[in-house]
């Protein structure tokens, strides 16, 4: 934990490394644009990956930066999805307004559940966060008239984005839309993480006691971070609702929370990029393993997960560092 801080802090201050990051960002965005042309037939799947990245980035903020391990992130994602969906059905089908509504819903749920969650740690926190998601799941299931229950929320028919780009059957607009939202979210997170507030988050992660000792109101800081993460997860949910034009109970389900966590740890926590790589790797492997041998794909995922924890416990992003160390020692 201590080592983490030492490794991260200088990175923030050195302009050189910062600009190298920007280079990497440009590469990533270029890759996302290139994928559109390389895989024009898989836009639906790639859009789902982009949406999931937004969700996992949000989890990274909570888990990777503030060090708060929850297993109920779907509560925030699903709230955003249902809020944006219901808003689109009954009030306005404007996608951007829908994003705002989704963000607000995610943030509100995060704030109020955070009041309880942020007091807890360890197993208690995991269980409480699961419970929040489960209670929301049951509420949505029983409020059938408004939410459609287990049939899913029907009747979402989005207006064109900015009045110009209609959501089309090939998923082209959906892809660009999700990518644009993701880029904005990523930049936002980047700015936040580098801000003094972001450093406070890291400080709390490293040692809540010490932060408390220097006068930081740890509890309220955590709630602020959780609320922000809720807003971002809510945006992810909103995009999902708008692109799929249907919201189902599974967006609040335990499986989604668990998968998001697997993806994040797979990629590596506390680096933002980990969320991106972890999600891409997990979903791609799932996609191919499931199409080759769906009945047994769980073997592949299980082995992948174990390989990562045992070989590169820091996540896939720890791999280059590990290699570098290894080669360095060889010299």
């Amino acid at each position: 934990m201590e080592a983490d801080i030492i490794r991260h802090k200088p990175a923030k201050r050195l302009g050189g490394i910062f600009s190298r990051r920007i280079l990497l960002d440009i590469c990533l965005i270029s890759a996302a644009i290139a994928f559109f042309f390389i895989f024009p037939n898989n836009l639906g799947f790639m859009t789902r990956v982009l949406v999931m990245i937004i969700m996992v980035l949000s989890l990274d903020l909570v888990l990777g930066y503030a060090g708060v391990a929850t297993l109920g992130h779907a509560a925030l994602f699903g709230s955003g999805a249902y809020a944006a969906g219901i808003f689109a059905v009954y009030i306005s089908a404007n996608p951007l307004l829908g994003l705002v509504v989704g963000a607000l819903a995610g943030a509100i749920i995060a704030f109020f559940s955070g009041l309880i969650l942020m007091r807890a740690t360890g197993l208690t926190l995991l269980m409480l966060s699961i419970a929040v998601a489960q209670v929301l799941f049951e509420l949505v299931n029983s409020e059938r008239d408004l939410t459609g229950g287990s049939d899913g929320l029907l009747g979402i028919d989005m207006d064109p984005v900015l009045g110009l780009y209609a959501f089309d059957f090939y998923g082209k607009t959906g892809y660009w839309y999700a990518l644009a939202v993701l880029v904005v979210v990523f930049i936002l997170l980047r700015v936040f993480v580098a801000s003094p507030f972001g450093l406070v988050a890291r400080g709390i992660h490293a040692s809540p006691e010490r932060m408390r000792a220097i006068g930081t109101p740890v509890y309220w800081r955590l709630i602020t971070i959780y609320t922000l993460a809720g807003g971002i997860a809510g945006i992810g949910g909103a995009v999902s609702a708008q692109v799929t034009e249907l919201v189902s109970l599974e967006s609040l389900g335990f499986n989604l929370s668990a998968e998001a966590m697997i993806m994040l740890i797979l990629g590596g926590i506390g680096r933002l990029y980990g969320a991106i790589f972890g999600t891409v790797i997990f979903m791609t492997v799932h996609h191919f393993a499931a199409s080759v041998d769906p009945f047994n794909w769980l073997f592949v995922i299980g082995i992948l997960v174990l390989l990562v924890v045992y070989v590169v416990p820091e996540g896939v992003l720890g791999l280059p560092e590990k290699l570098r160390k290894h080669l360095g020692m060889a010299k």
């Binding site: 789902r48 299931n141 899913g152 059957f169 090939y170 249907l246 189902s248 599974e250 769906p294």
Partner: protein, 390 residues
């Protein structure tokens, strides 16, 4: 011109069954979306086996078109994933038709897509009434809960049952079943003494049984998803003395052939109303089950099998008539009547939902000692009453 072409190829399709592959010059692809992984993987397996049996019996082509099935795994209820799969099937695999669909939200998610791309889509299972209204390209070969619950209520009333409790799993299909049974039963003059909505995750049913028993109705109508819930419910029904107390269980799909052996003797004598029994006495069904047994030893046929088998039949009719000129394909099967392993069926020309007999069955052991649903009464040619009455 198109109509003429359709008529011509429909005519040739009839004569084609034997001529088969020789005429095949062009391949039409059909995408099947179903769960092949996870807790619901049995559905995909049942679908695929039934389709392969249909192909083995009827050849690989219809109307000079070779038919190729492409299978995709949707996992559980997963509308966004299902929509992406459908997009992929249409855009990259170039399928002209879709089939499968176990869960309502998954089927609903593809409605806008098949409208825009004009893809005729045959639903093998997803049973909520409204689905077929969401796109003119949907045709359904399964059933709806209205379709089987109303006959159950009417049959029960005719047997002298006057009071009933309702216990359904608290989700879409459960609510459909509840409303359908209640509406029909009360319309006849019966009284529903209690309605219990049971949580989806529950497998300990003792408290519900106790509550029902305390009110001692003539019967309890239930709806539960197949698998662990049905298994545990029927056991709890027996063990909590409801059967001894003479409270008859009335159900629909709980005695599914894939879980029947697991439930064991506890299932014997349970009465349900449903559109298909693996033991339906007809030559057609015998041929179907024999072929399943021959090609996939150890497999049984259930509602999923017959939904997929008839779904394949519909797809063959459409493809035989129009090939990949699919825009008018659905019209080919409107009003189509044929004999299915479940008995005589037809596609309602307006709702595009299957009209079929509903059988009253009771679980018994057959001559080989296997547990089967024995049909002993029938309500003929029932349409989707959910669409008719709503």
């Amino acid at each position: 011109m198109k109509k003429l072409f359709a008529a011509l190829s429909a005519a040739s399709a009839i004569g084609l069954a034997s001529a088969g592959p020789a005429l095949a010059d062009h391949t039409v692809k059909v995408g099947i979306i179903a769960p092949f992984s996870g807790p619901f993987a049995i559905w995909g397996k049942q679908f695929q086996e039934a389709i392969e049996v249909y192909v083995a019996q009827n050849g690989e082509s219809a109307g000079g078109h070779r038919i190729e099935f492409v299978y995709k795994d949707s996992g559980g209820p997963n509308p966004s994933g299902t929509k992406a799969l459908a997009q992929e099937l249409v855009i990259s695999d170039g399928v002209d038709y879709l089939g499968g669909f176990v869960f309502t939200p998954n089927a609903l998610a593809v409605a806008p897509l098949i409208d825009e791309a004009q893809i005729p889509t045959v639903i093998f299972n997803a049973a909520t009434s409204i689905i077929v209204e969401k796109s003119d390209y949907f045709v359904r070969t399964s059933f709806s809960l209205w379709q089987v619950s109303v006959p159950m209520a009417e049959w029960a009333y005719a047997q002298g049952i006057r009071t009933a409790a309702i216990s359904v799993t608290d989700y879409g299909p459960g609510n459909d079943a509840e409303i359908a049974f209640k509406t029909a039963f009360e319309a006849l003059g019966g009284t529903v003494v209690d309605t219990i909505k049971m949580p989806l995750a529950t497998t300990d049913f003792a408290p519900f049984m106790q509550r029902i028993k305390d009110q001692s109705p003539d019967a309890v109508f239930g709806f539960l998803p197949a698998g662990p819930p049905s298994f545990a419910y029927i056991k709890a029904y027996n063990e909590n003395g409801l059967r001894e107390a003479g409270i008859e269980f009335l159900g629909t799909g709980e005695m599914d052939e894939t879980t029947l052996e697991a439930i064991g003797d506890a299932a014997i004598g349970i009465t349900t109303a449903y559109h298909y029994s693996g033991a339906h006495p007809s030559e057609m069904n015998q041929a179907f089950t024999d072929k399943i047994d021959e090609m996939f030893p150890g497999s049984v046929t259930n509602l999923a099998s017959v939904g997929a088998y008839d779904g394949a039949h519909i797809l063959y009719q459409m493809i035989g008539a129009v090939g990949s000129e699919r825009t008018e394909a659905v019209d080919v099967v409107r009003g189509l009547a044929w004999e299915s392993p479940r008995g005589p069926v037809s596609i309602d020309p307006v709702t595009r939902h299957i009209t079929q007999n509903v059988y009253i069955r009771r679980v018994a052991r057959d001559e080989n000692g296997r547990l089967v649903n024995e049909e002993f009464d029938v309500i003929e040619a029932v349409p989707d009453l959910g669409l008719v009455e709503n």
